[in-house]
Structures are given as structure tokens and as C-alpha cells.
């Protein structure tokens, strides 16, 4: 079993630093419960393959996607980012989380390019959730998960 994974505390520190560096919002990320089933989420994933095998996913509600993209591009509140920019921004979020998770785990390993979906993604059946971080940003849910392979 490949159950080694960063803790939720590791994820929280990483995501907080990333938000401060890239999004630049004075609004804090707050601990929260899981997103409600009826909330439509954008999902972004990267996979790590090698000595450690796993997947990192970042899921955000549409309002968070728009806010993050505005922050990353330096847009004002009245500017509406297009879908391509939102996809790019969310992909970069998961890329940064994934790269940092990869750095915390035993190597050598390789990081995939991000895959972004406007809607829930079907996670591979061989992956099990090892760490999860539920957050709220400006009233919108943000979820970060690390999944590991059943066997390595």
C-alpha cells in the first residue's frame, strides 16, 4: 500500500502561502465542511508517478474560480475573466500544489501537466483519498485532496 501522503496541515500551509503569493486577496481562507452536493465545482488534477504515486485535486465553486482568476491576473471586481483564463488559473493552482506535494514525497517521480474540468471529475478507481482540506473563501467552497494509489 502506498499510503504516505502530506497531512492536511501541510496542505493548509501550502495553500495559504499560494493564495497570498498568487491571489493576493485580503479575504482569508477559512476552515469549512465539505461542499454541499448541489454546488457545481470546477476540478483540476495532476498526477505524480514514480517512487511515490498519487494524484492531487483542487475543486472550487464557480465564484471562487472567478475570484482566483481575477486575483491572479490583477483584474478588478468588475472585470470578468474568460473561460480560458479561468481554466489556466485553476490549472496553475493544482500544478503548484502538486509540485509541492511531489517535493514532500519520496522521489524520483514525475509531475503531469494539469487537467481542468468544469464539473466533477471521475477519479481513478485505484486511487484512495489520503488527505483532504475543506476551505471557504468569500463564501465559496475550496477543496484540496491528495489521493494515493492502492499499491505501488
Amino acid at each position: 500500500m502506498s499510503t504516505l501522503a502530506p497531512s492536511a496541515l501541510d496542505l493548509e500551509a501550502l495553500v495559504t502561502d499560494m493564495w497570498a503569493s498568487f491571489v493576493g486577496s485580503p479575504e482569508l481562507l477559512l476552515p469549512a465542511g465539505p461542499p454541499a452536493d448541489d454546488v457545481a465545482l470546477w476540478s483540476a488534477t495532476v498526477t505524480v508517478t514514480g517512487e511515490w504515486r498519487g494524484m492531487v485535486s483542487v475543486d472550487l465553486a464557480e465564484a471562487a474560480v472567478l475570484g482566483v482568476t481575477r486575483g491572479m491576473l490583477g483584474f478588478g471586481e468588475d472585470e470578468e475573466p474568460d473561460a480560458a483564463s479561468c481554466t489556466d488559473a485553476v490549472g496553475e493552482l493544482v500544478n503548484v500544489v502538486g509540485g509541492n506535494v511531489k517535493s514532500l514525497m519520496p522521489g524520483p517521480s514525475s509531475l503531469s501537466l494539469p487537467v481542468v474540468s468544469r464539473g466533477a471529475v471521475e477519479l481513478p478507481s485505484e486511487m484512495t483519498e489520503a488527505s483532504v482540506l475543506h476551505l471557504d473563501w468569500c463564501g465559496a467552497p475550496v477543496r484540496v485532496r491528495v489521493l494515493t494509489a492502492h499499491s505501488s
Binding site: M18, S21, F22, M72, G74, E92, G99, S103, L111, L113
Partner: protein, 123 residues
């Protein structure tokens, strides 16, 4: 001075350029590349004074771009700006001839330190 910023993410290129400005290096000319292959071509045509490159990119990744440049005898100062900041990646970058590796997420201070280290003064 001219800086080439290579990243497949347009959003990240914008953030890198913004951070350069915040670090006091906003007066340099900026050239952008979307992948390593384009970065190699632009180094040859634009002759930048520094390359800031992502590692993980489609078409050609950053380490292969650096190795291609060094293999062609090009000694342009080359630094990585990447989400992968492990000791292993830093060692690979250094062995390939990179001047530095800035890990994402980063700060303006990290940029200033890295750029000052390769002789680029604040503009």
C-alpha cells in the same frame, strides 16, 4: 536588459512579470514563450540577458530547453520558476547549468535575490 519568461500558463507569466515589477525589476524588456521549444527559438532571435523558465511544459520542458541551449554553446543566464523545489530538482537544475531555482509559490524578495545574484540590478 531583456528577460525571457517561459511558461505554458499565460496567467503565470503575468504573475511572474508582476512579481518582477514588485521586486524592483519592472523596467526590463519582457519577451514571453509558451513552451521550451519556443524559448530556445526566442533566445536565439531575441538574445535575452536572462531566461526565467517553468520546468513542466508541453512541447519541450524547461530542463530540455536549458540542455538544448547549453548544447548549442549558448550561455545565457537561466533560472527556473517552478512548483517543484525539491533538492533533487535543484541538483538537476544546477548540473544542467541553471543559475537558480525559484519555487512556486514565491515572493518578490526571492526574485530580487535571484536576479541580483546573476548581476541584474533593479531597474
Amino acid at each position: 536588459m531583456k528577460i525571457l519568461v517561459a511558461d505554458d500558463s499565460r496567467v503565470m507569466r503575468q504573475i511572474v512579470i508582476r512579481t518582477l515589477r514588485q521586486a524592483g525589476h519592472g523596467g526590463h524588456d519582457i519577451v514571453e514563450a509558451e513552451n521550451g521549444r519556443q524559448a530556445v527559438e526566442l533566445v536565439q532571435t531575441e538574445a535575452p540577458d536572462l531566461v526565467l523558465s517553468d520546468w513542466n511544459m508541453p512541447e519541450m520542458n524547461g530542463i530540455d530547453a536549458l540542455l538544448t541551449l547549453r548544447g548549442a554553446g549558448n550561455a545565457v543566464p537561466f533560472g527556473f520558476v517552478t512548483s517543484e523545489g525539491s533538492d533533487e530538482m535543484r541538483a538537476r537544475a544546477e548540473q544542467a547549468g541553471a543559475a537558480f531555482l525559484i519555487a512556486k509559490p514565491f515572493t518578490p524578495e526571492a526574485f530580487d535575490e535571484a536576479l541580483t545574484g546573476v548581476g541584474l540590478v533593479a531597474s
